[in-house]
């Protein structure tokens, strides 16, 4: 009995130790996904210590709420979540287990990064699970649109500044750098210098960028010729039809003008039946669809069969940062993805 008491006393003493003496002035940030962690690192620099729960190769819908993750959340100052119920199967038990009032939903440390995102595929009217495992709050994979990454940076910077007001300027500065880097990578540096990232962003979101670039000139050349970056790489894809496995790239497709003719997975979370798969193959053949896009965590055998029978190319895309080799940060993720599309459609 004495040993037990001694053990308990020792544990209690541990509890009273300062959490971490070495990195006392760093904010401890836990992000549920590697994408969010990448943006947090970009904004927070060396004044934050960022840990991701799920790695980029994992399907973010199906992560086990392992007790070891609870330990990560226990000491966090801030928890960044993707939101829109993407992590509904694993974040609630982690937050409850962590017993950390700083990151409870409703507390300032619980940062829902879907805030201010223009959400796509918001169900209208009544939905039920007859349509599969639906997302009632809309499609949660908004980070596949680089312009949304800038909104998340805004949310993250605001949360960091609120948690560490002394570093607010630092975060603001880094956030702007990050947003400028996205603009340059999206539109090309030359165009950004000529028109300004803010205006390009607005035009792009309003769907008026092409008309604007076709109408305006600079130095005797149409602005359209100056378009660089991912949009230039994806130019050949615009208006093309593809087949996708799951509704995971809706934001990307909308931004770069791709239309999804059909999905391999008819209803979210339900295995597709052979009838549907055959129909998809028929559609690929009919419409001469060149590409079937999927992620490494889906059933590759089925995806490959559909692509091969239809004579289309199977393209393994990452769903987020870290999803494939080379996609190590948020910008590199889009470098990799746009290159993959260009390899099918040309530049």
């Amino acid at each position: 009995m004495h040993k037990v008491i001694a053990f308990l006393v020792a544990l209690a003493a541990l509890a009273l130790l300062p959490a971490s003496a070495a990195a006392a002035d760093q904010l401890k940030v836990v992000a549920t996904l590697q994408d969010l962690a990448a943006i947090a690192t970009a904004v927070g620099g060396d004044r934050v210590e960022v840990t991701a729960v799920a790695s980029g190769v994992q399907d973010p819908h199906f992560v086990d709420p392992k007790p070891s993750y609870i330990v990560k959340l226990r000491d966090a100052d801030l928890l960044l979540v993707n939101g829109l119920e993407l992590e509904i199967g694993w974040v609630p038990p982690l937050v409850e287990g962590a017993r950390n009032p700083r990151i409870n939903p409703g507390a300032p440390g619980y940062v829902d990064c879907s805030r201010n995102i223009p959400v796509l595929e918001l169900p209208s009217g009544q939905v039920s699970r007859a349509e599969g495992d639906v997302h009632p709050l809309g499609n949660p994979h908004y980070l596949t649109d680089p312009l949304n990454g800038k909104i998340v940076a805004e949310t993250v910077a605001a949360a960091f500044a609120a948690a560490a007001p002394a570093s607010a300027d630092y975060f603001e500065e880094r956030k702007k750098e990050f947003q400028s880097a996205i603009d340059a990578a999206m539109f090309g540096k030359e165009l950004v210098d000529l028109v300004g990232g803010k205006k390009l962003d607005r035009l792009c979101r309003a769907g008026e960028l092409d008309a604007f670039l076709a109408a305006q000139e600079s130095g005797g050349a149409k602005l359209a010729a100056k378009l660089g970056g991912w949009l230039a790489t994806m130019r050949a894809c615009k208006g093309r039809r593809i087949v996708f496995y799951h509704r995971s790239y809706s934001y990307f497709n909308a931004r770069f003008g791709l239309a999804v003719a059909n999905f391999v997975e008819l209803k979210a979370g339900i295995q597709p039946g052979p009838g549907h798969l055959a129909e998809v193959v028929g559609q690929i053949l009919n419409e001469k669809i060149p590409m079937v896009g999927m992620h490494p965590f889906y059933d590759e055998k089925i995806g490959r069969m559909v692509a091969e029978k239809g004579g289309a190319r199977l393209v393994m895309l990452p769903l987020g940062v870290g999803g494939v080799e080379g996609a190590g940060d948020y910008l590199k993720f889009f470098d990799v993805v746009t290159d993959q599309f260009a390899s099918v459609f040309g530049k």
Partner: protein
């Protein structure tokens, strides 16, 4: 919305002008006629304007309600929402001053001068745009099974010791459960599980299986649970039947933890230690009475190991049920998680005035799941629990000849300590989506004792532990195959091979087909 207004206005005016034009064409213009038309047009315009104003008001209202999602945010220009240090003009407090002031306020609010506890939340976080108020999550789970056993039905009921086990040849509704949960306020969450069961007599029973609060904002890694809840002993006891990997409950759980699982009203405190790995200490105090605590103060006149139980009062805190548990977890790799635990239970039992029971348990859960998995498949999980029970069977409620007094004689013969133990070990392999196979081995045994087959101490028949379905030597092997049409439904086929010393035939074979549906909000499972 502006262009829309302009368009409507233009369209309205066009309509008005067209009507006026028509009217003008049909009748020759007269002064009185013109005045009438003008008045008519004015009326129309007024009505139109009023309508537009009403519409605009409605639009404004809706936009406000939606939380004004910016249609095209221009991030570079957007001002940072919270105040930042970039605004030095504000005569603010330094963080230290703020902390100090907070402490003072906390003391004032608490009505004493003790040092401040951390406040639960500093400021209301902005409510998500277009959010809906989420008050309560409701789900209904229906678990039913068809079963057949080579054992007679009377024996099958004793073989399938769990309250939710399919116990007869034919169809059983194992569990129909209504689950309610919701956040009460920033400090508490509430959970309730209400179970409906159809008895062998065909009657429907309602059971308040669980109803408890959980704290959300205690400091220092503490969490309190209070109300009616499953005791956190081992792994399986606190799991609901729909989360089980097999149709029925392990034999050892039915024997030691009660057929329906060990649960009672009480309070539980758990502490997440600050160690670098996951280590959680749990302690609870619960009532020790009733059919949900059969190893403890089980109901009077029930029989345990041949003794008729007493109506035993609670005379001191020692007559309550105490749990101590340590649960830890390690990840040897990113794809393997180990969750070992040890538990102990202490409480009174009703076989004698001062009789007590102790149950000790060890448990291990291990799961392998590759990082790149298809909606959770493939995986292998291994779960094992072993338990030891010391049951101090006290003096029994008999009139000892020559004693002259009724009631309990503490010096009665037959007082002894019964040591029983049992274990189960199960492996589940999700080999391909959406299938899994499972294999489970059960063993449980009670030690023979001097009371066995001895003189009849007021009990009608001599007691024989080998013939007691809750204490005999029992081995069981179960295999199952499960198919999951979605996350919310499953079909399961299971075979049981039983070897039991109380059966005349010693062996029996059981077959079960189980179906589950779950509709409503389904909370995430604990790992």
């Amino acid at each position: 919305m502006r262009p829309l207004h302009a368009l409507l206005l233009v369209a309205g005016l066009f309509a008005a002008v067209a009507t006026a034009g028509d009217a003008a064409a049909q009748t020759p213009p007269a002064d009185s006629e013109t005045a009438r038309l003008r008045a008519e047009m004015d009326d129309m315009r007024r009505a139109f304007d009023a309508q537009m104003r009403a519409l605009q008001a409605r639009i404004d209202e809706l936009e406000k309600a939606r939380g004004a999602v910016p249609p095209a945010p221009a991030p570079a220009a957007a001002p940072a929402q919270p105040p930042t240090a970039a605004q030095p003009a504000k005569p603010g407090l330094s963080p230290e001053e703020q902390k100090k002031l907070e402490a003072e306020f906390a003391a004032a609010l608490a009505g004493d001068s003790k040092p401040a506890a951390p406040e639960p939340s500093r400021a209301a976080a902005p409510i998500a745009a277009a959010g809906a108020l989420k008050l309560i999550d409701i789900a209904f789970d229906l678990l039913s099974a068809g079963g057949f056993s080579t054992a007679r039905e009377a024996d099958m009921r004793r073989l399938q010791g769990g309250g939710h086990d399919p116990k007869n040849r034919g169809v059983t509704v194992q569990n129909a459960e209504l689950t309610l949960s919701g956040v009460v306020d920033p400090f508490l969450r509430g959970d309730a599980n209400i179970v409906l069961q159809i008895t062998e007599a065909g009657e429907t029973l309602v059971e308040l299986e669980e109803a408890y609060l959980t704290t959300l904002a205690l400091p220092a890694g503490l969490q309190v649970k209070a109300g009616q809840f499953y005791t956190a002993f081992g792994r399986l006891n606190a799991q609901h039947p729909h989360a089980w990997a097999f149709v029925d409950q392990p034999v050892v759980n039915s024997r030691f933890m009660s057929p329906d699982g060990l649960r009672n009203p009480g309070v539980q405190v758990s502490w997440l230690t600050p160690l670098p790995f996951f280590a959680e200490l749990v302690g609870s105090v619960q009532d020790a009475h009733g059919e949900t605590a059969t190893s403890f103060r089980f109901s009077p006149n029930e029989e345990v190991a041949g003794r008729v139980l007493l109506d035993r009062d609670v005379r001191s805190p020692a007559d309550l049920l105490y749990l101590a548990r340590l649960r830890t977890s390690f990840d040897p790799t990113d794809e393997i998680a180990l969750v070992p635990g040890v538990s102990a239970l202490f409480g009174p039992n009703a076989s004698g005035r001062d009789a007590r029971t102790q149950i000790y348990g060890v448990d291990l859960y291990a799961k392998w799941k590759p990082l790149v998995n298809e909606q959770g498949w493939p995986y292998v999980s291994w779960q094992t629990e072993a338990m030891l029970r010391r049951y101090e069977a006290g003096g029994i409620a008999v009139d000892v000849p020559g004693d002259g007094a009724d009631g309990v004689d503490t010096s009665a013969r037959g007082a002894e300590t019964l040591v029983d133990w049992g274990m189960y070990s199960q492996v589940v392999w999700g080999f391909a989506r959406p299938w899994s196979v499972g294999l489970r081995y059960d063993y449980a045994a009670g030690e023979h004792n001097e009371f066995d087959l001895g003189p009849n101490f007021g009990v009608d028949r001599a007691y024989d532990s080998a013939g007691d379905a809750l204490r005999d030597h029992r081995g069981r092997v179960s295999a199952d195959l499960t198919y999951y049409p979605s996350e919310f439904s499953k079909l399961r086929l299971q075979y049981n091979y039983d070897h039991s010393s109380f059966l005349d035939t010693e062996e029996s074979h059981g077959f079960f087909l189980q179906a589950e549906i779950l509709f409503g909000a389904h909370g995430a499972h604990k790992f």
